[in-house]
Amino acid sequence: MKLLMKLCLVCVITCFSFHASAQKTKYKCLLQMSNYMGEGAYVVVSLINPKGEYEKTLYVMGDDKEWYNSLKEWYKVYSKRPTDISAITGASVTGGDRSVTTFEIDNTKVNKGYKLRFETAVEDQQYHVDDVEIALTDEGLAARTEGKGYIRYVKLSKSE
């Protein structure tokens, strides 16, 4: 009986997640850093809604919480409502390196005025609130976007 219950539960969860993932697309994201001097950069990728507010954290590069407050704007929002970001946290990226990550974006958000924001900070150096911003449009997602700070460029590609 217990087994049956468990089986049902598993079925329900699987169906639900299948349903959910059907509306989302996985993107591969290439982040190429410029040859700056200094420690590894902390980068946070956020989904910004048309009102310019933080809607969701997509990826965090940098795993020492001690430094999160240096990503000032994002931290203002994050510190108020801390969410579990351990599954979407990776290592910080040093100058000249590249980083390839994947994240999922809701298909309904595309072409609706949303943006992807790449915010960067390096220990004892300048903070860039919008090192890279990519409009969440079909065009924006296909192009290569140059960075203003520590990021040289960002490229996205749909992951099949």
């Binding site: 040859n35 001097m37 795993d63 020492d64 000249g96 590249r98 390839v100 994947t102 590609s157 992951s159």
Partner: protein
């Protein structure tokens, strides 16, 4: 104390940095242990020097439709990042031969991250990094000055690893472990300093720049990755990382990062588009990191852990030496030109000063004008009547550092009045040239026209208060002073106190105030018959010494109960089961000789105590004759007789001769010696040993008797036998 420049530098640097160094050492030990643990990881790929990139890439390409990058870390973990056949993200350790996943890369635990941050920056970010970097640099200077100190101490680089004599725990191990650990510590400090310099951009660090011209390859006819020459020529062991092209764009490449260079490779043709060597500074940085963290070798990581522990020990032992030096600092009440007594000290680490200071304080208490100084402060002392030199010896018969100018000062400064002189040498028989410098000073002083030697040179072995009091007695006699001759006053804080259980005690009788006491020491206590037991009856630092014997592993002593003797009263009041604090004073000069053709043991009263143990331990059945003098036959003496009978049967003892002064044969032990004069003469002639224990009065009489019979037979007294150790005594 005169501190040498090196010692001063060594101490100043250590003082400035010890807190940071202690922190860095503790965290360093933890990180080294973590490096060992990581190094012993089960996910390591073996023999990667035999696998070419082509081999492994062919396998991996099949298993993983999309690969982002493959990296090989210092632990030979091969990490693949990509997407597997099911379309799921993969970041895992893989087997480079089969492509199978072997484990999940572990992130450093929060604890290790925390320790690493503490080790690198003390949680103070940039400021902390600066302090740690500065301390790495200071540690380098400390090791250099430490090496210089050892060379100075050992008198030359060639003697760097020759024997160091053990006189003090902290000092001995500071030097001994220093010789071994200085090299890894220097490497830790140097690599740490280098990493800090890199961190603060103080070294040129050219970044790698690949200049690649995108050739619009008109025919992206995809060549098989297996045909790329550069991949088949590269072994996995040379690789740090391969970044795969992100997409099919022609401006996306393979980036191959090897240990010493980086290459950009066209994803279609496999041509090497750019090949850049890492700058020398980058290679040096990697080397420094390997050396500093021990991440590439378990053995080195262990060496680093031990070296870090050693730094902690150096901090402890170094400061304990310094505290002792400071504790024995000189204070003077009187000026040198107005003092009658001039006490000059030659001491390397302050232990000799303690003795001189004890004399100095007593003179001051007796309202004498006394001036205490280092030997290098020798000058003209217009009011001086007495000049006493207390000096140790440094190295091979050389002057200690605060006495090295004495000889030239003596020739420059002549006293205007005649001055009584006396020299006391401090040293250890463990060194080859015992009290060598004291002898030199004694000779040089004797040649001065103004000097009138008052007492012959006395030497003190291993800071023995007992031997020092011999000099005090002799000096008292000549000067008419009455300085304390109790060894306790010249003793430092007693070290090596041990708990001892009282096992047995005999009662005194009306006709005999002597009792026997048996103590059981703890297992670690090392002693033998002829050693001394020091007890502290009044808890005021006063020490009483008793000759002991070792009987069935226990300490046995014979004590005469004096009505006013605090030591004997204290011992007599002990009951079986009681526990006392006492220590063993090794008395090497009075151990049973090994080997000897024959031995005569001469005692009176309680002096028999050590001999009982020597007879019991005489398992080699050396020929032993026991001569004893007592007043009358008491219960205790009967007990001795029973003991002697037992061991004569066991052949541990050849003869037992008793003199009773107040009954029976009415004679003294000297009479027995005269009776057996022939035996004693032969004994000494064949190299036999005479050991004497008991009262000083008896000793004088026995020595006089032996002297007489020797002069009669050989024409010379026993002086040569005394200096050769054939006639030894322990009397009180």
């Amino acid at each position: 104390m005169t501190l040498s420049v090196w010692r001063y530098a060594h101490l100043a640097l250590a003082l400035f940095s010890f807190i940071f160094l202690a922190l860095a050492s503790v965290t360093g030990v933890i990180l080294a242990v973590d490096a060992v643990r990581e190094r012993a990881s089960p996910y390591r790929a073996d023999n990667i020097e035999n696998i070419s990139l082509t081999e492994t890439l062919t396998v991996l390409r099949k298993a993983y439709p999309e690969i982002t990058e493959i990296s090989v870390d210092h632990n030979q973990h091969i990490v693949l990042q990509g997407v597997d056949a099911n379309g799921d993200d993969v970041e895992a350790y893989i087997n480079p031969r089969t492509g199978a996943l072997s484990g999940k890369p572990e992130k450093k635990s929060d604890f290790i991250q925390w320790i690493t941050a503490l080790h690198r920056s003390l949680f103070l970010h940039e400021a902390g990094r600066f302090f740690i970097g500065l301390n790495a640099f200071l540690l380098m200077l400390i090791s250099v000055s430490g090496i210089a100190l050892i060379i100075q101490r050992q008198e030359g680089i060639r003697r760097f690893f020759s024997r160091i004599v053990k006189d003090d725990f902290a000092q001995y191990y500071h030097v001994v472990t220093g010789r071994l650990a200085l090299i890894p510590i220097f490497i830790i400090a140097l690599s740490g300093t280098y990493l800090s310099l890199v961190r603060f951009n103080l070294l040129p660090q050219p970044k790698i720049n690949h200049e690649v011209e995108t050739v619009a390859s008109d025919s992206p006819s995809e060549k098989n990755i297996a045909d790329f020459a550069v991949f088949s020529n590269t072994m996995l062991s040379e690789v740090r990382k391969i970044e795969f092209p992100f997409s099919d764009d022609p401006d996306e490449y393979y980036v191959l990062k090897l240990k010493d260079r980086e290459m950009v490779i066209d994803q279609f043709t496999g041509n090497v588009l750019s090949n850049v060597q890492y700058p020398f500074t980058a290679l040096l940085e990697t080397l420094s990191l390997d050396l500093h963290t021990g991440r590439t070798s378990i053995v080195w990581a262990i060496v680093l852990a031990i070296a870090s522990l050693n730094i902690l020990f150096f901090i402890y032992s170094g400061f304990s030496m310094t505290v002792r030096r400071i504790a024995t600092r000189i204070t003077n009440k009187h000026k040198p030109h107005e003092s009658e007594f001039i006490l000059l000290v030659g001491s390397e680490n302050g232990s000799t000063l303690r003795f001189a200071n004890a004399i100095h304080q007593q003179l001051l208490a007796n309202k004498r004008t006394s001036f205490l100084a280092e030997l290098n402060n020798y000058a003209v002392f217009p009011k001086a009547k007495h000049l006493v030199v207390f000096t140790s010896t440094h190295g091979l018969g050389h002057a200690p550092s605060n006495a090295n100018k004495l000889v030239s000062l003596l020739s420059k400064n002549t006293q205007t009045q005649s001055v009584y002189t006396s020299v006391v040498g401090f040293g250890s028989h463990a060194y080859p040239d015992f009290c060598g410098y004291a002898r030199t000073v004694d000779e040089v002083l004797a040649r001065q026209p103004w000097a009138e030697p008052l007492v012959t040179l006395h030497t003190v072995d291993d800071k023995s208060p007992l031997q020092f009091t011999q000099w005090v007695k002799a000096w008292n006699e000549k000067t008419g002073l009455s300085l304390t001759t109790a060894p306790a006053l010249y003793n430092g804080v007693p070290e090596g106190l041990r708990k001892m259980h009282v096992l047995e005690k005999t009662m005194v009788a009306s006709n005999d105030e002597t009792f026997l006491l048996t103590l059981k020491p703890d297992r670690k206590t090392v002693f033998t018959s002829g050693d001394l037991l020091a007890i502290y009856p009044d808890n005021n630092g006063k020490e009483r010494l008793y000759s002991i014997s070792k009987s069935k592993g226990n300490i046995q002593l014979a004590v005469k109960l004096h009505p006013s003797g605090s030591g004997s009263r204290y011992l007599y009041d002990l009951n079986p089961g009681a526990v006392i604090s006492a220590r063993i004073v090794h008395n090497k000069g009075f151990h049973f000789p090994q080997p000897a053709p024959a031995v005569a043991l001469i005692a009176n009263g309680t002096g028999i105590a050590p001999f009982l143990g020597m007879v019991e331990q005489n398992k080699k059945k050396t020929e032993v004759h026991l001569y004893c003098g007592f007043r009358r036959r008491t219960e205790l003496i009967q007990r001795y007789e029973g003991f002697a009978d037992e061991y004569m049967q066991k052949q541990h003892l050849k003869t037992f001769n008793i003199a009773f002064s107040q009954e029976e044969n009415h004679c003294y032990v000297m009479d027995l010696i005269k009776r057996d004069a022939k035996f004693f003469v032969n004994l000494l002639a064949v190299g036999g040993v005479v050991m004497i224990c008991g009262s000083l009065a008896m000793l004088q009489d026995v020595e006089a008797t032996l002297d007489q019979i020797c002069i009669k037979r050989f024409g010379a007294g026993i002086a040569t036998y005394k200096s050769s150790g054939q006639v030894v005594a322990d009397c009180y």
